[in-house]
Structures are given as C-alpha cells and as structure tokens.
C-alpha cells in the first residue's frame, strides 16, 4: 500500500508541476507601431510676419494625391498648430527618380489663396514654409498702385490710359497702357460692363524674399511650366521683372481683354543671367511668362531689352489676359529629385539638429527648407532646381553657414560633411521620453515621431529643435544652466506645450499615472485622456 501511495504521489507531483506553469504569453504586450507612414512632407503655414494664421483650410487640388493621407491615415487635411504633414500610403515607396508630386491649396479668410507644389521622396522633405499674404498688405520688395478707370456703357474704356507705379526693381516706373475702347472680359470671355474698372498693379522684386511670396506658389521654382516649344517642364525662373495685374469690373474679375494692353517693366541694370553668365544689355532678350492663377506658368513671347544702363533697361510686351507676368529666364530641372547626404562625426553621438538648407542659383536663394538631421535621417531631397549651376548652403539654427558646395549633377547624390550644428562647446542634454499606458505596469518604447519646438520662456518665437524619434532627442542647443524653456510638441493632430521647463544633461521622464510618472498638473485630465486614447491605438 505504501508503494502505491508513493506511486500516486509521484504521478500527482508530475502533473502538478506541469500544471503550475504560466501561459507563455501571459502579460504579452502586443504593440503595433503607429509609424505606418514612412515618407511625408511637412508644410508650415504662416503670415508675412511669421505668425500663425487662423482658420487655414488645406486642400489637395491636383497631382498624384490618391495615396496621400494625414499622419493618422485619413484624408482629412487640417493644420495642427501651423503645420500640415502629408504622408504617403506605405504601399507606395517614392524615390528620387519617382517622386510623388501634387499641389496643396491653402486658403484663409482675409488672405490670398496660395497653391504650392509638393514632392515626396524617400529622403526627408523637411519642413517647407508657405506664406499667406493679405491682399491689403504690400510687403517690402513690392510696389502697388490701385486706380479706377471710367468705362462707357458698353464696358469699353473712354480713353487711352496708362497706369504708372514705381518699379520694385530697376530704374524708373512700370507702366500698363490700356488703349481707348478696350473692353474687359471674364473667364468665360463675356464682356463685363460697369461704370469703371478697378485696376491693381503690383510690381514685384523677385530678389526680395519678402516679396517673392506674392508669386504663385510663393516660389521661383515651379513644377509646371509650358515652355516656348510647347513642352512642359519643372524648373526655376530667374526673374528680372514681375508684375501682378488684377482688374475688377462691377465686382467681376477680369481675365481677358478685347484688345492687347501693353506692359512695360524696368529691368535691373545689374542683372546677370545665371544661364549664360552675361550681364543684361540693350538688345538682350527675355522670355515673358504668364500665370493665370492656375499654378501653370506659360511662355508668351520673347521681349527685347531696350534702354541703357544710364537711362535704365526695360522690356515692353503686349498682354491679352491676366494676371502674373514675368520677364526672365527659365532653367529646367532634373526629372528626379536632388538628394543631399550629410555626414558628421557628431551624428555618432546620437545628436539631432535642425539645419536650414538653401539652394542658390545665380546668386539668389531659390529654395529654402528646414530639416532635422541625425544618424538615421541624413538625406534630404530638393525639387525643381536647375540641372546645373546650383550650390547648396547649409546653415545651423543660428543662421551660421556650416557648409556649402555645388549641387551634384542630375541623378547623382551630393555629399556634405557637416560640423556640429549645435553648440560644440555647450553641454549636451538628452531628452528621453517613455510612456506607461494607464492599464500597464511596464513602459512602452513605441512612441510616435513628433516635431519639437522650443523657446526661452518669455520670448515670442518658437524655434525648431528637431524630430523626436521614438521619444529620444539629444542636442546641445538647450542650456542646462537653469534657463527655462517652453516646449511645443506637434504630432498628428495634437499639440502639447510645456512651459517654463529647465533641462539637465539627462532628462528622462515617463508619461503615465504610476508614482514618479508625469501626467501634467495644469491639464492632467486632458493629458490622461490623450494618453488613454493613444494607448488604445497601439
């Protein structure tokens, strides 16, 4: 009997040992990254003073928009703070040779609507700034005049009229001559009648970055230009003179005329062609391009330069429609995006820094973008710049030049070694954020990528600190001497501002509700709600 008891005990012990095991997947925390969208572009929308514009609506108006989503995966495009980030469905992988191009329209009450071309590749598109201007404000580098001209009952001008205004560039005035008997037509070609025509003529200095925002797309680069041979190309203008002419008859926008008007624009005497390297001279020829507001520049005609360096150069040409006219040269761009790869010893330390990259052509800045650079994100793309003669200037956040050099030829990658963009003599501080979901005991390491901005508390403007990747950012741009900073984090459709925060070398924090975690004091309930919602997506 004792033997049997021992046997039974052994059997029970064996089975009991097996039964006491935990499930292998007990407490298994299955996380799905929300970093679904890998390739994206961020557009920053501000007014002429760099301030946020309220009530901005964003619409994808043309191009390859089918696979474009917001960073939450929806076709719902709204600005968060002043940023709009547009991402590509992960089923598509844009490349430098096959970028995804489309256009985004920004509109806001009281501002001119702006349509900007956008391109996304597998390299960083950075943060591109879009400036919305007010029709009532004339920026530096622009001159504007408004006149009313009487009309006959049939809508024709009663007499020949010349609108004059000081040119924003070159010597002398810009003139718009309207012959007597000219009738004004709307977009459909119908004559518009009224007692007078309201004419607004703006002369734009395309060398002035404050004025250049008045151009369609706010840029000398364009993704769609119909050239003299009828072919369409992307590229960059070298503008010698630009005019924006708007007319209203009885509240109706004028688009065409019954007979040509004549525009005469001064050309700056110091203009040097970035294409030929030749200075402007009497008899030089400029191409005249027009833009009717559809975002497409079209070749109209060639115009020969008249005058002299002493009296001033100018071009004159007839126009049959409105609204933008440009005298200049056009250089086509490579079909592929231009890629710049950065390197630097500082990258190996895990540091992240914002840099400003400018493309310069003919001595003019034709493209500017802000990028967050680190070991894992060190390639950027630049679109629609000329095939040759372009140089790249890289600046740190303080505006100091870090490096400059020629942009490599089409299809080739430009490489640049950057010195430390931060304060090399300053203390490096590390920001490491963890998140503990309310129903969990362990932290998660799967955090969404977000953009972080900072300012010294009490100052006005937030500066870009960089992209926080998986909760981590290391920088020497922040002082660890007790200086208080305000931080603004923007991700997806959320904005979080933390005010008056000092930093130290190690700034590790866990967002959560466990003892020692941070959830915020001023908006704790809101933060908890955000935390709970975001955790539910993982």
């Amino acid at each position: 009997m004792k033997k049997k008891l021992a046997i039974y005990t052994l059997a029970v012990a064996l089975l009991g040992s097996i039964a006491s095991c935990h499930s292998p997947l007990e407490d298994f925390n299955l996380q799905i990254s929300t970093e679904v969208i890998e390739h994206y572009v961020t557009l920053r929308v501000v007014d002429a003073e760099g301030n946020n514009v309220s009530g901005v609506s964003a619409t994808l108006v043309s191009g390859d928009t089918e696979d474009i989503y917001n960073m939450s995966g929806y076709k719902d495009f709204k600005l968060t703070d002043n940023l709009l980030t547009l991402g590509v469905d992960p089923k598509r992988t844009p490349t430098a040779n096959d970028p995804i191009r489309f256009r985004v329209q920004f509109a806001a009450s009281g501002y001119n609507t702006q349509v900007v071309p956008v391109a996304i590749t597998d390299a960083s598109a950075g943060i591109q700034t879009v400036v919305l201007t007010k029709p009532t404000e004339v920026p530096d580098g622009a001159e504007e005049v408004e006149e009313n001209v009487d009309l006959n009952t049939d809508g024709s001008t009663t007499a020949a009229t010349t609108i004059e205004l000081p040119s924003a560039t070159g010597e002398g005035n810009m003139n718009l001559t309207i012959p007597a008997g000219t009738q004004f037509k709307d977009a459909s070609g119908a004559v518009v009648t009224g007692t007078s025509v309201q004419i607004v003529v703006t002369s734009v200095d395309a060398d002035n970055e404050d004025a250049i925002v008045l151009l369609p797309g706010g840029d000398l680069r364009s993704d769609e230009v119909v050239m003299a041979d009828g072919n369409t190309a992307a590229g960059t203008f070298s503008a010698a003179a630009v005019a924006d002419i708007k007319m209203l008859v009885n509240g109706v926008s004028v688009k065409q005329f019954s007979q040509p008007l004549v525009v005469s624009m001064p050309i700056p005497a110091n203009y040097v062609s970035p294409v030929t390297g030749q200075a402007v001279a009497t008899g030089s020829t400029f191409q005249i391009y027009s833009n009717s507001g559809d975002g497409v520049w079209r070749f109209e005609q060639n115009s020969t330069v008249t005058g002299s360096a002493a009296s001033g150069f100018r071009v004159s040409f007839p126009i049959s429609h409105l609204t933008f006219y440009m005298a200049g040269e056009f250089a086509t761009a490579c079909s592929s995006a231009r890629i710049v790869n950065f390197s630097g010893d500082w990258m190996s330390t895990g540091s992240t820094y914002p840099i400003v990259v400018q493309a310069v052509w003919g001595g003019k800045v034709i493209a500017t973008g802000q990028y967050s650079i680190d070991e894992n994100n060190k390639s950027i793309s630049i679109m629609n710049v000329p095939t040759s003669g372009v140089s790249i200037v890289v600046r740190n956040s303080a505006g100091n030049i870090l490096e400059q050099g020629a942009l490599a030829a089409c299809g080739q990658t430009t490489t640049m070694q950057l010195p430390n963009p931060g304060d090399a003599s300053g203390t490096t501080s590390t920001l490491q954020l963890y998140v503990r979901c309310p129903d969990k005991t362990t932290t998660i390491t799967l955090l969404p990528t977000f953009q972080l901005f900072y300012r010294v508390s009490g100052t006005a403007e937030f500066k870009y600190l960089g992209t926080v990747d998986n909760g981590f950012l290391r920088t020497s741009l922040l002082k660890t001497d007790g200086t208080e900073y305000d931080f603004k984090a923007i991700w997806s459709d959320r904005v979080k501002v933390v005010n008056k925060h000092t930093v130290s070398e190690d700034n590790t924090a866990t967002v959560g509700i466990q003892p020692g975690d941070i959830i915020g004091e001023k908006a704790g309930a809101t933060n908890l709600a955000i935390l709970t919602e975001e955790c539910s997506k993982l």
Binding site: I7, N29, L446
Partner: protein
C-alpha cells in the same frame, strides 16, 4: 504536418509488423501465450517496439536485467506543427507553431509487483535520461485580421510578424516516470504505457520581429519569465513491442 507524423508512425508499425511476420515465418507461428509470460512479470522481455506519445514517435528496445529490472533504449522524434489563435492587447493574432524534438533515451525500470498477477503485475518505475539532440520551438505570429490604419489598408508584409524561438540546451536530461511495460496482447505482441517527466534545462527565448510589430521583441523577457518553469517535459507514451523469445 500531422499527416506526416501519422505517416511516420504508420511506417514504423509496418516495419515492425513485417519484421515480426518474417521471424514468425522463419520460426513457425506460436499459437499460445507462454505460461512464463504470466508466471513472472518479465517487465522487459527482450523486444523491439514502436511508440508514439508526447515526445514523438520512435523505436525502442527492451532488454531484461533479471526478473524485476529492465533496460529500455529508445529514440524518438517529434515534428509538431499547429496553428493557434489568441488575442493580446486587444489584437487578434494567429500563430504558426513549429516544434521539433528529438532524443535518444536510456531508462532503467523496476517492477515491484512482478510476482503478482493483475493490473499492477507489469507496473514499473522508471529512472533514466535522454539526450535531446534537438528540442526547440518556433512561433511565427501575425495579426489574424487585415490591419487598417485610419483609411489605409496596410499590407501584411508591412505589418510584419513576430518570430519567437524557444530553445532548450542540447544535453542529457533526467527522466522519472511510471509505466506498464509489458501488457501482453498475444504470444509476441505486448503494449506499454508510460507516464513520466523529463527535467529539462532552463529554456531560452529569442525574438525577432518585422514591420510594425518590430518593437515586440521587448516581450522576450516576459516570455522567458513565463516559461522559466517549463522544465518538465511530460512523457505520455503508448508502445507496441514484439518479443523475440
């Protein structure tokens, strides 16, 4: 894979049967169970057998060591594939399980009641060990349902999968168990039932994950903690043997 397992087992049975028929034909058919089979337990008559159980299918040989003791040498192999579903952190998953186990075992048996008759006559207590030249498992886990991020249908290869590998050290592992080793069916064939446990080395876990599931490798420590007591490999085994005397 289950089909393959069945095929392997059937093949072993066939080989054994053919072998038995050959011997029977050579020596002439025995028409009765010898009295000696009952007069004493002979827990381990010299016999060749096949078995199937929780450690797989295989072959074994019994060698008697006197009237109360015996020796069993065997080899087992278990390919095991299955699919399991589960929900973790609110996400339904499907895992493909691929487990493989192979061992060569040696066990001594003691038949305490061999002199008796009845149910416990062939009961024995076994002590031994096995060298596991392979004992590992792999789970490949992916989301059961198509994953949608906002309005985007994310392709399965972008979502990725989690591969969890559990491995025990390739070494000799002790065994303790009980069994009925000579349940006589006829003059040549007998059946055996064994129940016992191997004590394995501490398992190690490694994980690899791809795509959106990449961060889940952080769960390796959790799984390793959960299975740290997975050191008792149960052995429930049924065997059929052919005795040669």
């Amino acid at each position: 894979m289950k089909r393959r397992f069945t095929q392997v087992f059937a093949m072993l049975i066939s080989v054994l049967t053919l072998g038995a028929l050959s011997v029977a034909q050579a020596k002439g058919q025995r028409d009765s169970i010898p009295e000696s089979a009952y007069s004493h337990g002979y827990p381990y008559p010299f016999a060749l057998g096949v078995h199937v159980g929780t450690t797989g299918v295989g072959l074994h040989v019994y060698q008697p060591l006197g009237t109360q003791f015996g020796l069993r040498v065997g080899a087992s192999y278990m390919p095991f594939n299955t699919s399991i579903e589960g929900t973790y952190s609110g996400h339904a998953t499907r895992s493909q399980v691929n487990a493989k186990s192979g061992n060569v075992s040696l066990a001594f048996g003691w038949t305490p009641f061999s002199a008796r008759t009845g149910f416990f006559r062939s009961f024995n207590i076994q002590l031994g060990g096995a060298y596991f030249y392979k004992i590992e498992g792999e789970l490949t886990t992916h989301l059961r349902d198509p994953y949608k991020y906002g309005e985007i249908n994310v392709a399965p290869d972008r979502v990725g999968n989690i591969t969890t590998q559990v491995e025990w050290k390739k070494t000799v592992n002790p065994y303790l168990g009980i069994g009925w080793s000579n349940i006589i069916i006829d003059s040549r064939f007998s059946m055996s039932i064994d129940l016992g446990c191997y004590y394995l080395s501490k398992p190690s876990v490694s994980m690899e994950a791809t795509g959106l599931l990449e961060e889940n490798v952080n769960n390796a420590a959790t799984i390793e903690r959960n299975i740290k007591d997975y050191r008792y490999l149960p052995r429930l085994e049924f065997g059929f043997s052919y005795r040669f005397w």
